[in-house]
């Protein structure tokens, strides 16, 4: 059989945990091979082994039938293996070309870097695979989706034949996901092979040929996508039936919890991004904000939470103004916030999980008294949250950095939901989570709603918005342009509204009238 990559009986241990326990993956030439597994199942670890970042304790790797020893990423490159990491590794002030050639710069005869030649080559590669990347643009000026394509170009420029994508779609908008899928198809057409890690079963069904399932570090098996269904994949992965639709009672909205009037917020470049926004969230309801990325959602959240100054307008929580209060005051007025960027805002990665669990409450009893921390209380709290939210970590004293992406997210969600704030802002709460965890988180959000809390959900996943929200506010160009209910609309209509169409054009009944 023609396998380009074979990983046979791989075992990789971390202190206190076996991340990969005898896993076998065989990738055929020219296929898109999915790697599926719960958060912390060991997918990233396995791929880091293939890319030479980790050394396995056991097992062997073969490239085109040859047994190889990949001790660092340069050797992986030599064998034609390239990896696009979930967290990009780009130098922001550099241009696309400078980033791509970094480490293998082409030189002229006199020894100078031949940037023109590199630019030409990169332009050619970009055209060939339909990547639409401008070689002279600066990284800090381009979108997340474009940065990802730069990472792809980087691997291609180094001659990759096998590309590893670690959760590439988690950070993309639906539009960008479609583009990425096209790119993957054209890569295959040019004879490349792809290993794709994703939690989105829809994507696997759409582009993959085969799928290897991992559960708790063990290989469960490999299935042909043609012969399987989403439900089967999901139950293989979690070991039980998963429901994709969230059961919930009808909402019973109470008094207004969050009230925003005529809000204006500027971004870092002093451009108005929120332009006279009005929004209301009541107790006992989940309001979903639907919108294309970059229409002011992040600025809106930052203004509510006190991380960014509002230029004018008012924000009221429980009928008291919280406009431009500092984050501590806002939190104490009853706000919880699951931030969109978990590494930047949500966690101190170099703190143990336990200390991250009290990030907003450390100064209060019982976690500290007269500024002296009570570690027993902190750890007790952490242990109980870890248990309740199924955060998979060797221990509460493990650094947050060592957790898998999805488990970091679960830790943050546990911390925020547990405080049971009057208003919970959840920005992309299920980004990077497996289907089982998503189901759990949605249940938790609805539970909070049923307790009479107000929930503001911001998500680029229309499925999630449609499924969980009681009311949908469509955000476009810094304003809420429509208020609809999931029952009275569908994804197509939402898509049109998000692109700026009027309600009448989109054919939707406006519920706020």
């Amino acid at each position: 059989m023609d396998y380009v990559i074979e990983m046979l009986n791989i075992r990789k241990e971390f202190p206190g945990i076996v991340a990969n326990d005898n896993i076998t993956v065989q990738v055929k030439q020219g296929e898109i091979h999915a790697l599926l597994g719960e958060n912390g199942a060991g997918k990233s670890t396995l791929m880091n082994v293939l890319f030479g970042l980790y050394q396995p304790e056991q097992g062997e790797i073969r490239v085109k039938g040859q047994k190889v020893n990949i001790t660092n990423p340069n050797i992986a490159n030599d064998f034609g293996i390239g990896m696009v990491h979930q967290h990009f590794m780009l130098v922001e002030p550099f241009t696309v070309t400078q980033n791509i050639i970094l480490g293998s710069e082409p030189t002229t005869k006199s020894g100078k870097i031949n940037i023109k030649k590199a630019e030409r080559e990169i332009q050619e590669l970009s055209d060939r695979y339909g990547l639409k990347v401008d070689p002279t643009a600066k990284i800090s000026d381009i979108s997340v989706g474009m940065q990802q394509r730069v990472e792809i170009l980087k691997t291609l420029y180094r001659g990759a034949e096998v590309l590893i994508f670690d959760e590439p779609t988690a950070v993309l908008t639906p539009q960008e996901i479609n583009e990425l899928i096209e790119i993957m198809r054209s890569l295959i057409k040019e004879g490349k092979s792809i290993i794709l890690i994703t939690h989105k079963l829809k994507e696997i069904m759409e582009v993959c040929d085969r799928c290897t399932v991992i559960r708790k570090g063990k290989g469960i098996g490999t299935v042909n996508i043609k012969d399987t269904t989403t439900n089967e994949l999901a139950s293989l992965m979690v070991g039980r039936e998963v429901s994709f639709h969230t059961e919930k009672k009808k909402a019973v909205p109470g008094q207004t919890i969050l009230e925003i009037e005529n809000l204006f917020v500027k971004d870092a470049r002093k451009v108005d991004l929120v332009k006279g926004l009005n929004l209301e969230v009541k107790a006992g309801e989940i309001v979903g904000i639907a919108g294309v990325d970059g229409n002011g959602q992040s600025e809106l959240i930052e203004a509510i939470t006190g991380l960014r100054k509002a230029n004018s307008g008012s924000i009221k929580l429980n009928n008291k103004s919280i406009t431009n209060l500092n984050p501590r005051k806002v939190t104490e007025s009853g706000l919880g916030h699951i931030p969109q960027d978990r590494h930047k805002y949500g966690l101190v990665l170099d703190y143990p999980v336990a200390e991250n669990m009290v990030l907003q409450t450390y100064y209060k009893k019982p976690y500290s008294k007269a500024t002296v921390l009570n570690f027993k209380e902190v750890y007790d709290k952490a242990e109980s949250l870890i248990k309740e939210y199924d955060v998979r970590t060797p221990s509460a004293s493990t650094l947050a950095r060592a957790l898998s992406g999805g488990n970091q997210q679960k830790a943050i969600i546990g911390r925020e939901v547990d405080r049971s704030p009057d208003l919970l802002i959840a920005a992309q709460p299920t980004r990077g989570l497996d289907v089982g965890a998503i189901e759990f988180i949605h249940k938790k959000l609805i539970e909070e709603r049923d307790k009479g809390k107000a929930i503001l959900l911001v998500s680029f996943e229309l499925d999630e918005i449609m499924d969980v929200s009681d009311r949908i506010a469509v955000m476009f160009d810094g304003k809420i342009v429509a208020n609809v209910t999931p029952e009275n609309t569908n994804e197509q209509q939402l898509g049109l509204l998000m692109a700026g169409s009027q309600l009448s054009e989109a054919g939707v009944h406006n519920d706020s009238e």
């Binding site: 984050p327 931030p339 101190v348």
Partner: protein, 349 residues
């Protein structure tokens, strides 16, 4: 895992020091001196008799404090090169209050120490404030503050504390850390009670950093300012506070010299180097309190013992400086040693 890390934390500096000594031995051999005699002289210079032991301890005392100062700032992600200037103003303040105030010891001595800490804290406050409010890099400001401290202090000694003299009068006994008992015990070395102050300060540093919400915030700000802001911490306040506490430790180091070792302050032609050595001590001690104490002991021993090497083994002072520098070099590049150790562990499996 944590146990493994701790072992590593100890093993790496120990190996660094041994490698440094080895390199020093090779250099002595190559230049035609006997490393055995050289190191014997070093040992005798540091521990030879009660007097040298006393002198070694008094040399270690301010190094512990400047090490703590630099380490404390490091914990919140700040590089306090200004410990040097903070030492100088602390020294000046201690002697000044020692001379100016008349009070019984029980009031006078604590007052002297507190004012020295306040002076150092003020010298740390300025760069902290500029960093927090205007984003000016603390390295630049602290370097400039060092010169300001040096020249202002010299000016004050000449024109305020004395009339164009280079050294002030000695402080009265009520303001002094010197102890006749310790001196007789050590054949009249200049050892003083300051070592107790320094060790106590190390305990305080450990407690603040590891056990209090203050330390929790300072470290969080050092690791991730965005997350700290998200969590409701006041980042500016923490930056300033970190520099202030750091400066207070350094100011106290100045007091050790002012009212412990010398009892006076003299016009300085250059820096004391106590603050700069504190940087190396902090690095060597991996920025934690116990590590700093151990590193300061090593530094004090090397510096004190080195004094003997030219006289009894004929090794020139320049070579002694090179050997000390080599040890620091190996510690600073401990990354390489760490890498080898990891390699070794894996092969061993």
């Amino acid at each position: 895992m944590t146990q493994n890390n701790r072992l590593f934390g100890i093993l790496v500096p120990v190996i660094s020091v041994l490698l440094g000594l080895l390199a020093g031995a090779i250099i002595m051999l190559v230049s035609g001196y006997s490393p055995i005699e050289g190191y014997a002289a070093l040992w005798n210079g540091a521990f030879g008799d009660a007097f040298t032991i006393g002198e070694t301890i008094r040399r270690i005392t301010p190094l512990i404090l400047t090490g703590l100062a630099v380490a404390f700032a490091f914990r919140s992600g700040l590089f306090n090169i200004g410990a040097e200037g903070q030492v100088i103003v602390g020294w000046l303040a201690a002697v000044w209050v020692g001379l100016a105030v008349d009070a019984p010891m029980i009031l006078h001595l604590p007052l002297v120490l507190i004012v020295a800490m306040l002076a150092g804290a003020l010298w740390g406050f300025v760069p902290g404030l500029l960093k927090a409010k205007l984003g000016v890099h603390e390295v630049i400001v602290t370097i400039m503050m060092n010169y300001i401290a040096l020249f202002i202090t010299n000016e004050i000694i000449r024109n305020v504390l004395t009339e164009q003299e280079t050294t002030t009068e000695a402080i009265p006994a009520t303001a002094s850390l010197a102890s006749e008992w310790l001196q007789t015990l050590t054949f009249f070395s200049r050892m003083h009670y300051g070592i107790l102050v320094a060790l106590f300060a190390a305990i305080i540093m450990w407690f603040i950093v590891q056990r209090t919400t203050i330390g929790y915030e300072l470290k969080a700000v050092g690791f991730n300012q965005h997350a700290s802001r998200y969590a409701g911490m006041n980042v500016s306040k923490n930056i300033i506070l970190s520099m202030v506490i750091s400066g207070a430790f350094a100011g106290l180091a100045g007091a050790m010299e002012g009212v412990g070792t010398y009892g006076t302050i003299s016009v300085m032609s250059g820096f004391t180097n106590l603050g700069f050595d504190g940087i190396a001590v902090a690095l060597l001690g991996s920025n934690n309190a116990l590590g700093v104490v151990l590193a300061a002991i090593l530094f004090g021993v090397l510096k004190e013992g080195a004094g003997q090497m030219p006289t009894s083994a004929g090794v020139p002072t320049e070579l002694v400086d090179i050997i000390i520098a080599l040890i620091i070099f190996f510690v600073a590049s401990s990354y390489i040693i760490r890498w080898f150790l990891l390699r070794f562990k894996k092969e061993g499996k």
